[in-house]
């Protein structure tokens, strides 16, 4: 699935980072956010001295339990709220500057759009907010609707969109101005496995095209497939951060997946492992690997679609 | 929300508030001088019109409230509730003091409708009828005079005053003065004629000569009504005007339906 784009990607006006590869896509430095309580409410520290860095072109996953400060961090990065201490920047530009948002596309959690605007009008509206206009904007909006599978809903008003459709529309509006950074807050929440798979494929495509992605999700297995680096937050602090492969590798275990192995071959392998018992190696588990429920669903759906296609032909 | 911003906002509001008050005064005075804003409503109006209507009147709906009260007054007129008609028209004219027709109608209801009602009422003793008649005619005059304090240049109100003096008070002198004022304000030919007619019946020769001059002016402007011609012929005889200067027409036959007799299009022979 291709993301429609203009081949001549000029740099955003006034962007300082173009010729400077060292400039991170997102930089959070010592971010602290304290919400002052109103009458009868106590002060609440949502984020404490948080620092993170997202390099250009990588997919960074920010995970943590509910209330750990992920959304607050995202909002601070997007300039939707002001840090109590610390600073955040996008491609070297402070988040406080409105211009910094020219390079960002944001998909909020449970996105909601104006009920009275149809799909096409919504994308044109957001495109205009980013400085786009005219027939080119309309064409781009149609392409994005096609990409997200919403072309039939182009003239349907937002009030008639399902949750999944709203999510896809949200992704389309985040992409309308070809941002260099995508911030996705729970992009697959409420989306069926097929839609979810599509979104994850898109994220991988973004990475291939050099678009930086900052994503949060509770669906950890999905993040595992797409992220390069992960930051884990808890109680407003970063508790672990690093490359995904490094974080989740069980260093002292090795996995071999063999196809069409005979029983004899398996016995030989077990014997080899037994010989290495002196060095501490041992066989933990042997058996058929399990597919995931999601993969099973996808395969079944694809087969059903294929069968239906054949039925139509005959 | 940052305290600094709240303080800034409060300061801007305060500065705006203090700066605007003298400007508001000046603009309000200017608009009142140009008769675009009515004087403030009094508490008396509030008591008479009810809270909802007072609120509506405060909210820029005075004209509508006046129209609604007018409907009530018209119903009272149909039911011959003259005291109620009087009080409601007082209220209406307070709400819209620059509406000529309200003063006009208030005066008409008092000086003609109410006065005639009491004069003809067989339930009332004859001695009292005359007094009530006069009181209501005076009430009509009072409405017109009050209206003229707000609208001193209203030809219509001066003309209606003239009508009341002519048909109700039977004072040609006062009627002539009122019609002349009306003519000065409106410059309508029939008002000049009406002045001349009233002056023509006065005993004083100076008044009669003035009537003659006005009638000649009207004649010169093209008025050929039978009454104009008849009165000119009368004065030509009385003052011994040389034949060469007299108007060529002969004395006309008098007609009861001569529209030239009346002060204007709104009145019939009884002055209504």
């Amino acid at each position: 699935m291709a993301v429609p784009t203009d081949p001549s990607r000029d740099a955003a006006e006034g962007d300082r980072s173009v010729d400077s590869p060292a400039v991170p896509a997102v930089e959070v430095d010592g971010l602290t956010k304290v919400f002052k309580g109103g009458l009868g409410k106590r002060r609440f520290t949502a984020v404490r001295d948080l620092s993170l860095r997202v390099e250009p072109g990588e997919v960074y996953g920010l995970i943590g339990p509910n209330g750990c400060g992920k959304s607050t961090t995202m909002k601070a990065i997007l300039g939707l709220l002001t840090p109590t201490e610390g600073r955040t920047s996008i491609f070297g530009r402070s988040s406080k500057e409105v211009a910094s948002r020219q390079a960002v596309g944001f998909l909020p959690e449970n996105p909601y759009f104006y009920k009275h605007l149809n799909g096409l009008e919504t994308l044109v509206f957001y495109g205009q907010l980013c400085g786009l206009s005219g027939a080119a904007l309309k064409a781009r909006a149609m392409d994005l609707l096609k990409m997200t599978g919403l072309e039939d809903a182009a003239d349907r008003r937002g009030g008639g969109f399902s949750k999944g459709m709203l999510q896809r529309l949200g992704l389309a509006q985040a992409l309308v101005h070809e941002p260099r950074l995508l911030v996705l807050d729970e992009p697959t929440a409420g989306v069926d496995p097929i839609g979810s798979r599509k979104i994850r494929d898109l994220i991988l495509e973004f990475r291939e095209r050099g678009i930086t992605v900052l994503v949060t999700s509770h669906l950890l297995e999905q993040l595992q497939e797409v992220c390069d680096r992960i930051g884990i937050m808890a109680h407003g602090k970063m508790v672990r951060e690093g490359r995904l492969s490094d974080l989740i590798a069980v260093e002292d275990q090795t996995e071999l997946i063999i196809e069409n192995a005979s029983d004899a071959m398996l016995e030989e392998l077990k014997a080899v492992i037994a010989k290495g018992a002196a060095s501490g190696a041992r066989l933990i588990r042997a058996g058929n690997p399990r597919t995931t429920l999601e993969r099973l669903f996808l395969e079944a759906s694809e087969k059903a679609n294929a069968d239906e296609g054949k039925g139509v032909e005959s | 929300m940052k305290l600094k911003r709240i303080v800034q906002a409060a300061l801007v509001l305060l500065f705006l508030g203090v700066a605007k008050v003298p400007l508001e005064e000046r603009v309000t005075e200017r608009l009142r001088a140009e008769n675009l804003l009515s004087p403030p409503l009094t508490l008396e109006v509030r008591e008479n019109v009810g809270q909802m209507s007072f609120a509506a009147a405060l909210g820029g709906l005075r004209s509508l409230v006046a129209s609604i009260v007018y409907l009530e007054a018209y119903t009272a007129f149909e039911n011959s509730e003259w005291a109620k008609v009087d009080s409601l028209f007082q209220l209406i004219t307070r709400l819209q003091p620059r509406m000529v027709s309200y003063w006009e109608q208030a005066a008409a209801h008092m000086a003609y409708d109410a006065a005639a009602y009491y004069l003809k009422s067989e339930e009332i003793e004859p001695a009292v009828r005359g007094r009530l008649f006069q009181e209501h005619v005076d009430r009509g005059i009072a409405f017109l005079e009050e209206g003229l304090t707000y609208l001193p240049d209203s030809a219509r109100l001066w003309a209606r005053l003239g009508d009341v003096y002519k048909y109700r008070v039977k004072s040609p002198k006062k009627a002539a003065e009122a019609y002349w004022k009306a003519f000065e304000c409106g410059r309508q030919p029939f008002l000049q004629r009406a002045t001349a007619y009233e002056l023509s019946v006065l005993p004083d020769e100076e008044d009669q000569r003035r009537a003659y001059e006005l009638l000649k002016i009207r004649y010169g402007e093209g008025d050929r009504y039978p009454t104009v011609i008849a009165k000119i012929k009368q004065f030509e005889e009385k003052f011994g005007v040389p034949l060469a200067v007299r108007i060529p027409e002969a004395m006309p036959q008098r007609s009861d339906a001569d529209p030239g007799m009346n002060a204007g299009p709104n009145v019939d022979v009884e002055g209504r």
Binding site: Y112, F125, Y126, Q128, L129, G131, H177 | G59
Partner: protein, 297 residues
């Protein structure tokens, strides 16, 4: 295709204004215009009143009453819905996550609303003028026929009736009255927008704004007390000072009552009212921006 960021962009403001206008129109505001038309036609032709002046006056009174009701209701309720609803629905996040300065967001919203109110007033003005013109001619002919039947029809009487009917009939000053109604609505809208930047909900905004509108219609009285009459009590003095300073003088725009009566509206008066209206709108927008610019979303 990539856009570029400009510090000030009329296109962004107009995009927001257009979306706001579309939103309000698709909320079936036009139904009100139909109801208005029915009222105007009904009042114009159904109510028999004794004099032609009263007939025409009642038509104008009811029409302008509906105009004022529409504009004030829109100004309060529609404005109160804009920002709080965007915040509640989190549409505001997606908008402000784009390169949109917050003051442009406020400007765009207000402009869209004023476009709706202005457009609605223009349509209602045209309807009123059409009905008034037709009724004016009918009333004139009826009166002349009555004079004719009593043998009182003369050129002079016809001219007088024409004058009387024309004074209460269609005139250019009626449009000035409609513009004054629009100015008042603009002030109320900007006031509502300002309140909505710190209000906790739509209902709170509506209630506060209605209170401010009521106080605004009594602000002249407060000024009257402060400047021209003696107030003995310190609390009375303090209260009248506070109202005179804080509340806008909404009665200043109530020239409709006298415009209905045929009073001319000099251009100087229009400029003064427009200047005051602009001052209120700009002032309240500045305050709204100060309260909104660092509002936590």
């Amino acid at each position: 295709m990539k856009g570029s960021y400009a510090r000030f962009s009329l296109r962004r403001i107009l995009a927001l204004a257009s979306a706001t206008l579309t939103q309000l129109i698709r909320m079936r505001i036009l139904v009100f215009l139909l109801i208005f038309s029915a009222i105007v036609v009904g009042v114009g032709f159904v109510f028999p009143l004794p004099t032609p002046e009263q007939q025409l006056k009642l038509l104008k009174d009811v029409s302008f009453g509906a105009l004022q009701f529409f504009s004030v209701a829109m100004a309060v309720v529609a404005t109160a819905l804009l920002l709080p609803r965007d915040l509640e629905d989190r549409t505001l996040y997606t908008i402000l996550a784009k390169p949109v300065p917050r003051h442009e967001y406020l400007l765009g919203k207000l402009l869209g609303l004023l476009a709706l109110i202005g457009g609605g007033l223009i349509v209602m003005d045209l309807i009123l003028c059409g009905v008034l013109y037709v009724r004016q001619e009918m009333v004139f002919q009826e009166f002349i026929a009555a004079l004719r039947s009593e043998g009182l029809e003369t050129p002079e009487s016809t001219a007088e009736v024409r004058l009387m009917v024309d004074q209460q009939g269609l005139s250019w000053t009626l449009h000035a009255g409609v513009f004054a109604v629009f100015l008042k609505a603009a002030v109320i809208s900007s006031l509502a927008l300002m309140i909505s930047t710190f209000a906790s909900s739509t209902l709170f905004t509506v209630v506060c704004t209605f209170c401010a509108v009521i106080i605004g219609h009594g602000q002249q009285l407060a000024r009257e007390f402060f400047f021209h009459r003696h107030l003995d009590g310190i609390w009375e003095k303090a209260a009248s000072t506070v109202f005179a300073i804080l509340a806008p003088d909404l009665q200043m725009f109530d020239i409709v009552d006298n415009v209905i009566n045929g009073e001319a509206v000099p251009s100087g008066a229009m400029l003064s009212m427009t200047g005051m209206g602009a001052m209120y709108v700009v002032g309240y927008l500045i305050v709204a921006h100060l309260l909104f610019v660092e509002k936590e979303l």
